[in-house]
Amino acid sequence: MECRELFARLSEYLDGEITPEVCEALRRHVEGCERCDAFLDTLRFTVDVCRCLPPPPLPDDLRRRLHQLIENPPPA
């Protein structure tokens, strides 16, 4: 497997969404390629930082609007 081929499939690799054969080929390549290993580290870090990003708080006026909706729901 070449670096470019690996580069195109790194997210599927991180997400465990590739076949065991391709996964093994990727793993072997990464073990022997310092740059791809480092790049994979940075991509994994990027995904993990996204997952740590707190959501914006629900604004009070939206909370009030949704509360009004609960009290007066439209007919289904």
């Binding site: 940075t42 991509l43 990027t46 740590c52 959501p55 939206l62 609007r65 289904a76």
Partner: protein, 199 residues
């Protein structure tokens, strides 16, 4: 990743909504409101539009709850309604035009690749990381941004994301990878820790 409520719990909720139980609507708003607002805020890039989308999503859901057959989870159904509301705003000219992210342009250059110097929980507390990440998400083309927000911020699966956005599994994977690569490139200068300047 946000905690995903179990399918059974949400389906119980759906049954109660169909029976018109107000506690069910209150629970749905509590559970899904912040998630829908997060998605809408990032897609609309306007707090006022995001509030309208969030409210409209619940209104549309209540109007159509009797027709919802449960082929997807309740959260996927709600995100689908929200995504359509966001698209409607985009058609009305409130969104930026979409453009394509090229894989070739996102490949790393020839220079050294710095490994992360700290964990993601620590890094996300840093203002420079947060600013770069938020800016990078906000400037992703909308089709890529929608996939990234649902997959990596809201924790939907690939199949749920495909269902919510009405696109194929392959398209979800392609857009997600390119979106992540764009964010990774934006974060690269911060990867070596405080004051790092590695490309």
């Amino acid at each position: 990743m946000r905690a995903e409520h179990s399918r059974d719990a949400l389906d119980d909720l759906l049954g109660a909504l169909r029976r018109g139980e107000p506690e069910a609507l209150s629970a749905l708003v509590d559970r899904q409101g912040p998630r829908l607002y997060n998605f809408a805020t990032r897609m609309c890039r306007s707090a006022e539009d995001a509030k309208d989308v969030t409210q409209e999503t619940f209104l549309a859901a209540l109007r159509s709850v009797k027709d919802f057959r449960g082929e997807s989870t309740v959260s996927t159904w709600l995100f689908r309604i929200a995504a359509n509301a966001c698209r409607k705003m985009r058609r009305h000219g409130k969104f930026e035009p979409a453009h394509h992210l090229s894989l070739d342009e996102l490949m790393p250059g020839e220079g050294p690749i710095a490994r992360p110097a700290e964990g993601p929980e620590t890094a996300v507390l840093r203002a420079d990381v947060r600013t770069r990440l938020e800016d990078a998400i906000a400037t992703l083309p909308p089709p890529y941004r929608a996939v990234l927000v649902l997959r990596d911020l809201e924790g939907l699966t690939t199949a749920e994301t495909a269902g919510a956005l009405g696109i194929t599994l392959v398209t979800v994977k392609v857009r997600l990878h390119r979106a992540r690569l764009a964010l990774r490139r934006a974060l690269a200068p911060t990867l070596g820790g405080h004051g790092a300047g590695v490309p």
